[in-house]
């Protein structure tokens, strides 16, 4: 955590997060993220090895629901909010992914 985050790393996380940055934004965000991470680095000094990470503030477990069907949404209402629809489905540009 001692090295400041680099523009390459910011460009990488931007790509992971599907965000496009201009060169100016990349430099500005790199500086700003560096500041926040530098501040956050103060917890590095703490010895927290014996402490378990908190995933939930409340000590609850086994919260489940019965396997009973309840009405689904009206399809027209759902599709009315979509940017593009065809044949009762959500329409998206071609997928450059795996061959399925």
């Amino acid at each position: 955590m001692s090295n400041r985050i680099s523009t390459d790393e910011v460009a990488h996380v931007a790509r992971l997060a599907r965000l496009q940055l201009t060169q100016g934004e990349l430099e500005r965000f790199t500086e700003q993220l560096g500041d926040v991470l530098e501040h956050a680095a103060d917890i590095e000094a703490l010895d927290l090895d014996g402490v378990t990470p908190m995933a939930h503030p409340l000590p609850l477990a086994n919260v489940a629901r019965p396997d009973t069907v309840r009405p689904s949404l009206d399809r027209d209402e759902v599709l009315s909010q979509a940017p593009a629809v065809e044949d009762g489905r959500f329409k998206v540009p071609k997928i450059l992914g795996e061959e399925l």
Binding site: V13, L33, R65, P83
Partner: protein, 490 residues
């Protein structure tokens, strides 16, 4: 010029008057809509005002009351929802371009509970985009102004909800609090704001920022109103796995019990001994509140929560990490904005790049980084461990104290643009409020005097998880003491 309302009707007064027939919901609604009409263009508390619908609902409610029906404890009370709570068929934007025009096909649980209690929705209030900010300056639809001084911010992220109450547009509103987003604007706008215990109020229909920290709570003019609203919106919801499986606690009945014999701990780190940047006037008001409580019979002492110093660091890793995941779904496929692209990846990227503002992008990238392979343990893992440590320290403190006391915000309302250039300076606004979100414990802000600039100051009352009753009990006393102090000063 101030647009803050003087001597507002409280929610309790309105509900009693409407239910008893002393007035009717339509009259109450007209008064509130008139105030909106008069100054909303300047304050900009709302993203959407539902004037016609609100009038219709008021008429319908009056008809039910005339027919002898019991319409609930918030009969005819005009309310507003932060625009990150889903309302069926009513635009819900999170003050983001990416959700502009989206009409959810369902209601948040809190929206249903308020409606079932007789409250009438007046509008959806402005916020920092996706609740990320402390001034409401990050809204894609322009900032909300502080009704006490239009040149100053209302705080954030629930700035619109705080301003709507302060300006008298509604008697009560709901906000969401992830790192102080209810309490800080409440302090800056001079109203009461409550962050309940994590899980006390259903998050179903609250558009997530950071799921393990987000909590809905009320803004009101009085502690008693906040107690009533909390009773209405609180309690178990089977649609939220993290909802506490108990009914909401009775709060209105504890408010006049005083503080005699209660043990109040003043958090050292937040009183100038560990956390820098708390302004002198805010420290002075907080000390005065502590002294007044002691005079009223409480046993006040100082207490140290060393891990609270690291709260901000932990928060700015945990919250962005969860946010980076929660905000992935805005991809242009199913709802909201879409910017065209030759393929899905390009469409996703174009949509998100155009749809999110800078602060949201910053936090998404920060969170993505904190979770990524190779950094997880150093950042996210460590931050989650700090939460446990902080919760342990709070628990130890609560062995000795019934409640804790601190400033809510390090300073009073600041001017627009003061902190927008430096994200870190903005983040420091939440330094006193963040620890309660990290531990999951309840905390609330109660107005207590004014700062050197004449702007409201809030003090924060903190309590152990699910101990809202004692928190409200003390808050009610703080409110009485503030009124006494104000009376004495005049």
């Amino acid at each position: 010029m101030s647009h803050a309302v003087d001597n507002p009707s409280t929610a309790i007064e309105i509900a009693q008057a409407v239910a008893s027939g002393a007035t009717n919901a339509s009259t109450v609604m007209d008064e509130h809509l008139a105030r909106i009409e008069a100054s909303e263009t300047e304050v900009h508390a709302f993203n959407l005002v539902l004037a016609d619908q609100a009038r219709q609902h008021a008429d319908a409610l009056d008809a039910r009351i005339a027919a002898g029906e019991d319409v609930g404890p918030l009969a005819g009370v005009p309310i507003a929802l932060k625009d990150n709570m889903c309302t069926r068929g009513i635009a819900t934007t999170c003050s983001s371009r990416i959700l502009e025009g989206w009409e959810p096909p369902y209601n948040a649980t809190v929206a249903d509970r308020l409606a079932n209690a007789g409250a009438i929705l007046v509008g959806k209030t402005n916020l920092d985009e996706f609740a990320m900010g402390s001034s409401t300056e990050n809204s894609a639809f322009g900032p909300t102004k502080n009704p006490h001084d239009l040149s100053r911010v209302p705080g954030g992220s629930s700035g619109g909800s705080a301003a709507a109450v302060a300006a008298g547009y509604v008697a009560a509103s709901l906000g969401s609090d992830t790192g102080g987003s209810i309490r800080q604007p409440a302090a800056l706008c001079g109203v009461v704001g409550v962050k309940p215990t994590y899980g006390a109020v259903s998050r179903y229909g609250l558009i997530a920022f950071a799921s393990s920290l987000d909590q809905i709570g009320p803004f009101t003019h009085t502690v008693a109103d906040a107690a009533l609203v909390h009773e209405v919106i609180g309690g178990h919801d089977p649609l939220d796995s993290t909802s506490i499986p108990q009914p909401a606690p009775a709060l209105t009945e504890v408010l006049d019990r005083g503080v005699d014999g209660l043990r109040v701990g003043l958090i050292d780190e937040m009183m100038g001994h560990g956390i820098d940047g708390i302004s002198a006037d805010v420290l002075a008001r907080t000390n005065e509140a502590a002294e007044a409580l002691a005079a009223a019979g409480a046993k006040v002492d100082r207490v140290s929560i060393p891990a609270s110093i690291y709260g901000l660091s932990s928060y700015y890793l945990v919250a962005p990490a969860e946010a980076s995941s929660n905000l992935s779904r805005y991809d242009g496929v199913r709802y909201g904005l879409r910017e065209d692209g030759a393929n899905v990846v390009e469409m996703n990227t174009a949509t998100r790049t155009a749809g999110f503002g800078d602060e949201v992008k910053r936090r998404i990238m920060l969170g993505t980084y904190a979770l990524s392979a190779g950094y997880y343990d150093a950042y996210y893992g460590k931050a989650q461990r700090l939460r446990t440590l902080l919760a342990q320290e709070f628990n130890e403190a609560y062995q000795r104290f019934d409640v804790l006391l601190s400033p809510t915000s390090p300073c009073t309302a600041f001017a627009f643009g003061d902190k927008t250039a430096d994200p870190m300076a903005m983040y420091l606004n939440d330094v006193c409020t963040i620890p309660s979100n990290l531990s999951g414990d309840p905390a609330m802000s109660v107005p207590f005097g004014i700062g050197d600039d004449g702007m409201p100051v809030g003090v924060q009352v903190l309590a152990p998880a699910t101990h809202e009753p004692v928190m409200f009990q003390v808050a009610a006393e703080v409110e009485r003491l503030a009124a006494e102090a104000k009376g004495a000063a005049q």
